[in-house]
Each structure stands twice: as structure tokens, then as C-alpha cells.
């Protein structure tokens, strides 16, 4: 076996295969994504075990809203009974389907125990690596929860009035962007582990904020004075926006949510870049 000498080796290894530069750069992240999907497919039974929690929470919420609406069926905060229950089922579906240990726990654990060093010495951008892994995780989980949500919703609540199937592509895009924004913020919190001992309490606070304002209750439930503030937070783009489009779609609302999401993707991206760039230089590894 002959070794290709000098710079020729690097040129040879840097894939002069005629493919577009963006594809060559992006292929590694697609492969990371694909590898995680392959890994997660082996655990579909474990994922399905989480269905029980989803079922119990939604069963409680269905009964709760059933009681709240009573017999009059009057709208609450502009939502009819079916809309409200479907709203909660969609947000819970995103909540359960997009939960992933990678951005929430793995990154901060890796920073604290020093395992991150074995990842940052590879020729990829670590935050992209994490996001590709996380996307691979939810791409298996979320469709499973979506199936469960549809079956459970149709069986226990019935058809959603005014639902437009034609709006689904826009809704799916909003869901994907919402999950990405959420992951971006969770990654930023995890990256704080470069400076602080434990980022988990901040993750907990962020999660509870999203859960209470946006997942369990739509923004309109809260006092009017607080609503404009909530609309400026990630809550608006993570859970509320996509679920609102499912239960009450309008082109105008869709554009508004998509624009807000794109702004958050941009802001989140810049924040991750800055936090990671600063943090990785502070890396301290136990035992060297």
C-alpha cells in the first residue's frame, strides 16, 4: 500500500468527486442524521412506551376541557371545545415527539465530563453535529406521536371543524422550524456548561415556561396585558404557532408565524455561534 505523499493526499481525501461544494460540506451532516435515524429505528418499541404518558396527559386534558366547556359549548379565549382539545393534543405531540436527550442533557454532560474533546477534534462544526443528531432523533419519534395524536383525537374528540388539509405542508414547515428553534435555545443553555457547573436548572426553567405558556394553554388564555410579551418570546414560535395553525389556519397568520420563526432561527443561530466560539476556548478537561 503506497502512501500518497504531501498535499496530494489531502486533496485526494477532500473528495474531488464532481459533486457540488455545498453537498460535499453538507453530506457529513446528512450522514450523521441518517446514522441517528438508523440507531433510533432499533428503539421504536422504547419510544412507543412513552405513548402511555402521552395518552394519560391527553385523557386528563380532554376531560378537563370537557368539564370547563360544560354543556353550553361557548368559546373560551376564542377557541371552541374541539379546537382547544386539538390544540393541546398537537402541542403535546410536539412536546413528546421532539424531546431529545442530545440537546437537553447530552451536550452539557459532555462538556462537564470532558467527552466533548472527542467530538470537537473532528472536521465538523460541533453545533451542527448536535443539531443533525437531534433532528435524527425526532424524525423517528415525532411521526409516531403524530400517528397516535390523530388516532386518539379522532376517537375521543372527533374531526376538527374547519381543518384544511391543504394547509398541512405549511403547518409541517412551521412544526419543523418550531422544533429547530426550541433545540437551538436548549443547545445554547447546554453550552452555558462551559462556564457554569450545571446547566440543568436553566433547562428545567425553560422547559416549564414553554410547557405552561404555550403547550398546556394557548397564549390567548393569559391576561391581555401579558400576551404581547409572550408573542415576543420563543414560546410563540415553538409550540403555540404551529398548533394555532392546525386549529385555526389563515394565510396571514401563517406568514406572521413563519416570519417570526425565521427571525428566531437567525437570532438563535447567531447566539449559538457566539456562545460556542467563546465557550470552546474556555474548555477545561479533567485529567488533561
Amino acid at each position: 500500500m503506497n502512501r500518497t505523499s504531501g498535499s496530494a493526499a489531502s486533496i485526494c481525501m477532500k473528495a474531488v468527486d464532481g459533486s457540488a461544494p455545498w453537498y460535499r460540506r453538507g453530506r457529513k451532516y446528512i450522514v450523521i442524521y441518517r446514522s441517528v435515524v438508523m440507531e433510533n429505528i432499533q428503539y421504536v418499541v422504547n419510544i412507543a412506551m412513552g405513548f402511555l404518558s402521552y395518552f394519560i396527559i391527553n385523557f386528563v386534558m380532554i376531560n378537563l376541557w370537557d368539564y370547563m366547556y360544560g354543556t353550553s359549548g361557548e368559546a373560551i379565549a376564542g377557541y371552541g371545545k374541539e379546537q382547544m382539545i386539538w390544540y393541546v393534543m398537537i402541542t403535546e405531540m410536539i412536546w413528546f415527539g421532539a424531546r431529545g436527550a442530545t440537546v437537553a442533557r447530552q451536550v452539557s454532560t459532555d462538556i462537564r465530563n470532558g467527552n466533548i474533546v472527542y467530538m470537537v477534534n473532528k472536521p465538523y462544526y460541533y453545533p451542527f453535529y448536535v443539531m443533525a443528531k437531534y433532528t435524527g432523533e425526532w424524525s423517528v419519534q415525532l411521526p409516531m406521536y403524530a400517528g397516535l395524536a390523530v388516532v386518539m383525537g379522532m376517537a375521543m374528540v372527533g374531526r376538527l371543524p374547519g381543518f384544511r388539509a391543504a394547509a398541512l405542508p405549511a403547518v409541517i414547515l412551521c412544526v419543523i422550524l418550531g422544533i429547530t428553534i426550541n433545540a437551538g435555545f436548549k443547545l445554547c443553555i447546554s453550552l452555558l456548561s462551559f462556564w457554569i457547573e450545571d446547566a440543568h436548572p436553566f433547562q428545567w426553567l425553560y422547559d416549564k415556561l414553554i410547557l405552561v405558556i404555550g403547550v398546556i394553554f394557548p397564549i390567548e388564555i393569559f391576561p391581555e396585558k401579558l400576551q404581547p410579551f409572550f408573542r415576543l418570546t420563543p414560546i410563540y414560535t415553538v409550540c403555540y404557532g404551529p398548533a394555532k395553525l392546525v386549529v385555526d389556519f389563515s394565510g396571514e397568520k401563517c406568514m406572521e408565524i413563519l416570519c417570526a420563526q425565521l427571525l428566531y432561527v437567525l437570532a438563535g443561530g447567531i447566539l449559538i455561534y457566539l456562545v460556542y466560539r467563546k465557550g470552546v476556548k474556555k474548555l477545561y478537561v479533567n485529567g488533561g
Binding site: M1, R27, V31, M38, V117, N121, K122
Partner: protein, 271 residues
């Protein structure tokens, strides 16, 4: 030609201190106190292309910190370093295409995937075209004799099989410099011998520069032409294996020689 050049390399860590007991814990919250530890102190050396170098020292001597700075993982506080003419602090990603790392105490393979899928994964990470990756997998599969378990998920492999796969994965992109941090730790003597002969073979056939840290004297004796001993962050010896054996006569084993050198430097840590 030099593969690695290090000049006055230094790294200091700030370690938090806490007094004992509950009172100490409360005091450390109110008045946090930290201590500076000079992990690497003005270390200088060079490594020639194709050389196999043992970089050894007692625990806490600064070996792993030096490797981590050479691979661009940690940022030095002072000094200059170049690996293959690249400054790891400025062009880490570019350097990553040219070097490989094997950390005996840490697996880089994805345990739920097979070695074959892992190799394809690493091929993509290093931007190698698929056809070339396939050819490389075949080549490395023969060199490391992976045929019997290349399609078994990594979690089902023995430690020896896994280490052979780790080596193959770290060589997929034909690195010019390979950093080995305790590559034979925990392996039985037979597998150790296999790994050593593979490292030798790789160095001969591919002319790969090997930078090895190990506490195993067998690794050092059987593989290395040159030895650098580091203690308390400073280089205390840089010599050829041949010369080291010559000056320490009276049939003393290499292990005892190294222990003597450590002791002379004020450390009584066994290798």
C-alpha cells in the same frame, strides 16, 4: 521533515478549591477560591515525519494536555505549536483532516452501528467520496482482519475487536500523524501484541508519524525509536531508545530505568 514542532508550550488550569465539610462548602460559595496549576510548562520538542515517539510521564505530568493542544482541542496559554505546518489553535478543522486520534479509554465508534456503518460514517465526516470509502474499508478490513465482525454492532464486540475497529476508523482518511493515548489499556497480552504489530505495520507501510502516550512499557519498548519523558509539565528527558538502553547498563529493565528517571525528578510513581 518535521511533522510536529512545539516551542515553549504552556498551559495553566484554574482549579476550584473547597475546604472540607459543610462550613467549607458554604464558605466556598461566599468566597470562591481557586488555584492555578501549571499543567504544561514551556515544553519544546520536534517530531520527524515517520517517527514513532513515546511521550510518557507519571499521571498528571501533562501528557494528555499536550496531546489535546496538539490536536487543537485545548488552547495553549503560551508558546508556539505546529502540526504538519498547521497551527492547531487557528486551523483546527483543517488539521483534523490530516491527523487521527485513538484514545484507549474513550470509544469514538457509535456502539449501536456496525463497524462497516461506522467506517462509512467517518468516511463522510472526512469528506471522502463513497467509492473511495468502500475501497478504504476493504483495505483496512484486510489490514486489521475485521472481516468476521465488520457487520456486528460495535456493542457486541470484544475489547480487542473494538480497538482494531477504533484504529481502522481513525485511519479511514489516511492521517499523516496518529496520536495514540494509551491505545492498549485494558487489553490482554495477545491482543496487545496484535495492536502493536499493526501499529508497526502501519508506520512502515503508510509512513505515518506516531505520537504515543502509554504507561505500558511493552508499548514503548516494542514500538518507539525515541522517548520523551515529561514530569510536572516539563520535559525531563528526550533521547533515543537505543541511547537510553546504552547509558543504563547493568541489565536494568526499561521499566526500572523509567521509574529511576521519575524518582530522580522527585516523583515516585510507577509506570
Amino acid at each position: 521533515m518535521e511533522a510536529i514542532r512545539v516551542q515553549d508550550l504552556s498551559k495553566t488550569f484554574r482549579v476550584r478549591q473547597k475546604e472540607k465539610g459543610l462550613k467549607g462548602s458554604i464558605r466556598s460559595v461566599l468566597h470562591p477560591r481557586s488555584e492555578e496549576i501549571r499543567a504544561v510548562d514551556e515544553v519544546s520538542f520536534t517530531v520527524e515525519e515517520g517517527e514513532i515517539l513515546a511521550f510518557i510521564g507519571p499521571n498528571g505530568a501533562g501528557k494528555s494536555t499536550t496531546i489535546k493542544m496538539l490536536t487543537g482541542i485545548l488552547y495553549p496559554d503560551g508558546g508556539k505549536l505546529e502540526v504538519l505546518g498547521i497551527d492547531p489553535t487557528k486551523r483546527r478543522k483543517e488539521l483534523a483532516y490530516q491527523i487521527g486520534t485513538v484514545f484507549g479509554q474513550k470509544e469514538q465508534l457509535w456502539t449501536h452501528l456496525t463497524p462497516y456503518d461506522n467506517f462509512r460514517f467517518f468516511g463522510a465526516i472526512y469528506d471522502i467520496p463513497e467509492k473511495e470509502t468502500e475501497a478504504r474499508i476493504k483495505e483496512l478490513g484486510e489490514l486489521f482482519e475485521l472481516g468476521a465482525f465488520i457487520n456486528t454492532p460495535v456493542r457486541g464486540l470484544s475489547l480487542g475487536q473494538r480497538m482494531r475497529c477504533e484504529f481502522a476508523a481513525s485511519l479511514i482518511h489516511k492521517p499523516k500523524v496518529l496520536f495514540l493515548d494509551e491505545p492498549t489499556i485494558g487489553l490482554d497480552p495477545v491482543v496487545k501484541e496484535t495492536i502493536r504489530s499493526l501499529i508497526k505495520q502501519m508506520n512502515r507501510q503508510l509512513h505515518t508519524t506516531i505520537f504515543l502516550t502509554s504507561h505500558d512499557v511493552g508499548d514503548i519498548e516494542k514500538l518507539c525509536e525515541r522517548i520523551i519523558i515529561i514530569n510536572a509539565g516539563s520535559v525531563v528527558m528526550d533521547d533515543s531508545m537505543e541511547h537510553l538502553k546504552d547509558i543504563h547498563t547493568s541489565g536494568m529493565s526499561l521499566e526500572n530505568m523509567i521509574v529511576e528517571i521519575y524518582k530522580a525528578e522527585g516523583r515516585t510513581v510507577s509506570v
